[in-house]
Symmetry: C2
Subunit: 360 residues, 2 copies
């Protein structure tokens, strides 16, 4: 394990689409929706033997620092960093760069997220290894692209150009980053064969990222430059609040990836699942004979294609199809699978009513 | 209040169609589904000023004697009688006759049930009063028929003949009792104008009923005759077990009402609701602008025509129509309103699995 290698796991956000289980106080990354341990802990577990806990950082919102530390007790507490307010991914990446560089001048790090389920971990680590090797040269920003399996309109895409390495891990020059497409465009991307999903996983030297930010998104660079000297000092927290308050929200894709010329993409051919909303559980649990996914205790009569998370109760369904049913301690959600994206809207609706504060 | 007048409220059964709220240990008659107090207590309340608690009897199953006494604490405990096993309504009516006659040789009683919601209580009591007056003559078995409001296939009907009394309360000679009809037949009954629903409410002198049973259903009569001398003695319970074990199941309609020539019907023009399954709650609660009935705490997004009983949780619906959603302490039921009759089938399915004993 090279001691210049770090990982930064982004675990902000509150997983609104996983309400009612995911709440402001216990969002999805600290829940065990899929695969036993909390998703955040699984993101750390994956790196076992590749990057040790001392060099894994978690960037989350300040209010989630404590539950995140509980979810991953093996990390040094100082490695769980709370953002005083959400400023999107450019700021989080820049903050990661500042902390990594302060701890190791030649530090190189990968950006990972706690939102995804990855299978075939060995292959995942092979690709990370290769990506680090490329990134350590300090010339390029490395992204991990995922081979699309369907014409998703939920991801950005990377248009891959020249093949830079055609060995065990394929690496391409990235021609451009494109935002989430409409259905028709997504279909042409899928057909073309040279588009990969933008996974939100990146590998770069801290210096390389900071240089790109300096060129393309100066306010975010300035924040990182201001934080660098106070990393691991008592002045860190107050400094972060001051700096973050000055920033606007901007994503790393928009700030850097859609502009920088030195982006390369390693093709990720491991299994990668965006656990973005309730129907995604269908990828991770065995279905019964009628295509129902039942997490917990459910009994079905003439019911098919449902996703049921039953909590500590029995859910009995008669004659219903393709519903999502999720019980939390104090609230139950019921919607067709096709409306699962609108759970966010429900959360916003509830947020306007004071009496629902304790279920959000 | 004439002291020869008694009421016998039938409150057996376990309300399977109201699962998961109605369970074997706490069936619907002791729940407050509609109208505040338990349905059994409401059945007693209705008689206020007409028949005092000392002359109101409840016949239920032995296992429900305790919860029934709790639900109606104003009744003397000895007035809540537990049947050792279910033998249908003929036996319950006959047992009522035995107890009433033992306490008052000239006793006359009405049979009421705990399953119904009645509004316009004053009118209900006027009709009872008239019915008692007729029944006290000892010549006829009096039934209360309800003017049909739709072609129900869920009730038996009474074919009304000659008008016996055309005053404030209309009384007819009953031509015949007919079982639950098919939809087409129900429609012709409704059109004809001379069919009333068989409400299951009767008024008769104990002697008149016993005479009819002696003629048409001797085994049930024999049970009542055997019980008469042991009413209010320590031998009652053991006697009842012995006698009931000898009987088969037979309804009062089949045993007597479809055969006896001396039946008259008082037309009940009060509001009478059979609270037979979850969608019936629509008759008793105000709907929101989208036709949802929400008992408890529910928030709807693009959802219409649902019946939600939320218990002590929040139920959030997105994009669903015409569903029944009922939360009990340990179980939740979800089904389309059109399948509400099949809740019974779900209960039977669960009953075959030992692990669900505590939700049934």
């Amino acid at each position: 394990m090279k001691d210049n290698r770090f990982a930064v796991i982004m675990a902000g956000g509150r997983g609104e689409r996983f309400w009612p289980l995911s709440t402001a106080a216990r969002p999805k990354q600290v829940l065990s929706l899929v695969g036993g341990r909390p998703m955040l802990a699984q993101a750390v577990d994956r790196l076992k033997g590749f990057i040790p806990p001392e060099r894994i950082l978690i960037i989350t919102s300040a209010s989630l620092v404590d539950v995140s530390r509980e979810a991953v007790p093996e990390l040094p507490p100082a490695n769980v960093i709370g953002e005083p307010c959400g400023r999107d991914t450019a700021a989080a990446c820049a903050l990661g760069a500042a902390v990594v560089k302060a701890r190791c001048a030649e530090g190189t790090f990968c950006i990972l997220t706690a939102d995804h389920v990855i299978r075939k971990i060995d292959r995942f680590l092979q690709i990370l290894e290769h990506g680090f090797t490329v990134a350590e040269r300090g010339e390029s920003l490395v992204t991990i692209g995922i081979k699309p399996t369907f014409p998703s309109t939920g991801f950005g895409y990377i248009d891959c150009g020249e093949v830079l390495s055609d060995g065990d891990v394929r690496v391409f020059k990235a021609r451009r980053f494109v935002e989430k497409p409409d259905a028709k465009t997504a279909e042409t991307y899928l057909q073309s064969g040279h588009y990969l999903w933008n996974s939100g996983m990146f590998i770069w030297k801290a210096d390389t990222l900071l240089a790109a930010l300096r060129q393309f998104e100066k306010p975010v660079y300035d924040m990182a430059a201001a934080m660098l000297p106070v990393v691991d000092t008592p002045a860190f927290e107050a400094g972060l609040t001051t700096e973050y308050n000055r920033l606007g929200r901007i994503s790393i894709d928009y700030a850097v990836m859609e502009k920088a010329p030195n982006i390369v993409t390693a093709a990720g051919d491991f299994e990668w699942y965006d656990v973005g909303s309730w129907p995604a559980l269908e990828d991770h649990f065995e279905k019964d004979a009628d295509g129902n996914v039942i997490v917990g205790d459910g009994v079905m009569l003439d019911s098919a294609g449902n996703v049921v998370v039953s909590g500590n109760r029995l859910t009995a369904l008669i004659g219903v199809k393709d519903l999502v049913v999720v019980h939390a301690e104090k609230a139950t959600l019921i919607c067709p699978k096709s409306r699962a994206q609108d759970v966010k809207q429900m959360v916003q609706l509830l947020a306007r009513k004071e009496q629902y504060a304790d279920v959000l």
